[in-house]
């Protein structure tokens, strides 16, 4: 026998609901952004390639350094774990973070999925904040983890020649993590302002490496010094604690922290303005 009764109707009229508090909306947006980032293979490819690059870099540097120390044990006294791993972060890890942040910020403009995101969370500032925070968290883990990995690999190869100061290494690990987090905030802001993935990665590459290299090639001391005010160069001064191993800035200390934070703040303001003013 066929039941003639229609399926139970769901109540279409909802009782009035109180507006959720801003922290609650932010917590939801954080969960949403984390779910989205974590459910994409590209995220894990970025992190995997970054880690593999750092491990290979540390192994390469470690082996050649170990050869040198085998011939000249005295040189091992000047060995710096922080300097080599910081270079690994500068040349490799920060580009993984750039790609990750650029994809997090611009991916939804390429697919137009930004429309569903803004329907779920109409407060655009909250979306940007959540997206930046999730990318920053992942970038911190990536920066710290990959730096620790690099130091570990180096220590495995040259540990018998040069002892590791664990406290100093921890500073490098945390410094790299923090700087990668701030760079992620910068590139999420830049990506939100630019909306294009390729453009964002290109601009990020110029800021991190291209422009400082060209400024240093100019041979003019003023331009050479100006390169230190770019985010990548200022960041390495921070996480390498001044022991960069190549010429960057005429200055050490808090000015570099302020520089990196300033870039991030400027990019966020640009991104927020674009997000608010422009149609999605």
């Amino acid at each position: 026998m066929i039941a003639a009764s229609p399926p139970p109707a769901r109540t279409a009229a909802h009782a009035p609901v109180p507006a959720p508090s801003t922290p609650r909306v932010l917590a939801r947006a954080l969960a949403m952004e984390w779910t989205k980032l974590a459910s994409l293979r590209s995220t894990w490819w970025c992190l995997g390639l970054g880690a593999a690059g750092m491990a290979a870099f540390a192994l390469l540097m470690g082996v050649s350094t170990a050869d040198r120390f085998a011939e000249d044990p005295v040189a091992a006294g000047e060995f710096s774990y922080a300097r080599l791993t910081s270079q690994g972060v500068f040349y490799l890890v920060q580009f993984a973070v750039l790609t990750l942040a650029a994809l997090a910020a611009t991916g939804e403009y390429a697919t137009r999925a930004i429309t569903t995101t803004l329907q779920a969370v109409p407060r655009r500032g909250v979306v940007l904040a959540a997206r930046s925070a999730v990318a920053a968290g992942l970038a911190f883990a990536a920066g710290a983890g990959m730096t620790a990995l690099g130091i570990g690999v180096l220590w495995g190869v040259v540990g018998s020649y040069a002892p590791l100061d664990a406290g100093y290494a921890l500073g490098t690990v945390l410094g790299a993590g923090a700087c990668m987090a701030v760079l992620a905030v910068l590139f999420v802001g830049l990506g939100t302002a630019m909306r294009g993935t390729a453009g964002t990665i290109g601009a990020g590459f110029l800021l991190l490496l291209g422009i400082p290299l060209v400024l240093q090639l100019s041979g003019l001391q003023e331009l050479n010094d100006a390169a230190a005010y770019l985010p990548g160069a200022a960041a390495i001064e921070v996480y390498a604690a001044g022991d960069v191993g190549f010429y960057t800035a005429p200055h050490d200390g808090p000015i570099n922290i302020v520089t990196v934070l300033g870039w991030a703040a400027a990019a966020q303001i640009a991104g927020y303005t674009e997000l608010r003013v422009r149609d999605a």
């Binding site: 279409a12 909802h14 939801r28 697919t111 999925a113 109409p122």
Partner: protein, 324 residues
């Protein structure tokens, strides 16, 4: 309830929506009909807070979208089924939306089941057909069990089963007392699902009326007759009157294919007249009123008025109605 009031949206120099005003009440299916580029999607985007109106407003439950405390419970929308990341699974896509809008995660499995995607839940969206993406988009719209639903061309890309499924779903949702607003450029589709029609062309409102009224006002059921003795039959038909003086005037006009189109007489009556006149009849059939014809007449009239006078579209529509 969705409310659009004097909505105008310009993109640079182009006016996508021009002083549009209408309401979409709950409990019925309101069709949003117009040719491509008529401003349907733009209107929906403004309703959902994605685009900022140049003038006027578009409200959901009396509020702009951004001011709704729990938007997912108030309104669910499918605007563009392909606007999803192809690398994510259907489940992860919906889970992210559920988390962002504060909807219980148990709803994800429920809506996947409801749209028939439970089997494909863990597959990446990149491998989905357009029909599956439409279903996924509808699942996303249903996630918060919303009081209002906005669907932009929901049957695009669906196979016959899918089309029938969407029609039933749309009817059921309205039957549950929800506000349902469905756009389409397919008039036949609208005729099957909508109770009420909002017709736009070039960003302007043409009609806002119940479906049967639209069909009745803009098109008439006619009798088409094909005969080699057209002149004689036309003369006799013109003289005929169906049932005394109170019956409607009989109008005869030549059709595009050489046939005669007769208003005011049934095929039986036309056949009788032909028989009495000794005229040979080759074809005789009733031409039913359809939204398709109503729509064509409607847009033609609007164009004539737009070309004839620089009249406001609202008045042009009213005049067209009287004319018809």
């Amino acid at each position: 309830m969705l409310t659009v009031r004097h909505l105008t949206k310009r993109y640079g120099g182009t006016t996508a929506v021009d002083d549009l005003t209408f309401e979409v009440p709950p409990g019925r299916v309101t069709g949003f009909l117009g040719p491509n580029g008529a401003g349907k999607s733009t209107t929906m985007r403004v309703l959902l807070g994605l685009d900022r109106p140049t003038c006027g407003e578009a409200l959901v439950g009396g509020r702009p979208y951004a001011a709704i405390p729990e938007p997912a419970r108030e309104v669910g929308a499918l605007l563009d089924a392909s606007a999803v990341h192809p690398g994510r699974s259907a489940r992860a896509h919906l889970l992210a939306l559920a988390r962002g809008s504060g909807v219980a995660r148990t709803r994800v499995a429920e809506v996947l089941e409801a749209v028939g995607l439970a089997e494909a839940a863990r597959k990446r969206i990149g491998g989905f057909s357009l029909g599956m993406r439409q279903r996924l988009g509808i699942a996303g719209a249903l996630l918060g069990d919303p009081a209002a639903l906005v669907f932009d061309e929901p049957v695009n890309g669906l196979d016959m089963d899918g089309v029938l499924w969407v029609r039933r779903l749309v009817r059921d949702l309205a039957g549950e007392g929800r506000t349902v607003f469905v756009s389409s450029h397919l008039m036949s589709e609208m005729q099957l699902v909508a109770d009420h029609l909002v017709v736009v062309a070039a960003g302007r409102l043409l009609v806002d009326a119940p479906m049967d009224e639209v069909i009745a006002a803009w098109s008439h059921t006619r009798t088409a007759v094909r005969t080699p003795d057209a002149a004689l039959l036309a003369e006799r038909l013109g003289a005929a009157r169906a049932g005394g003086d109170r019956a409607p005037e009989v109008e005869v006009e030549p059709g595009a294919g050489g046939e005669l189109l007769v208003r005011g007489l049934t095929p039986e009556q036309v056949g009788d007249v032909a028989h009495a006149a000794g005229v040979r009849v080759h074809t005789l059939y009733r031409e039913e009123a359809s939204l398709e014809r109503a729509y064509l007449e409607l847009t033609e009239t609007a164009e004539e008025f737009a070309a004839g006078a620089s009249d406001r579209p609202g008045r042009a529509t009213a005049a067209a109605k009287e004319h018809a």
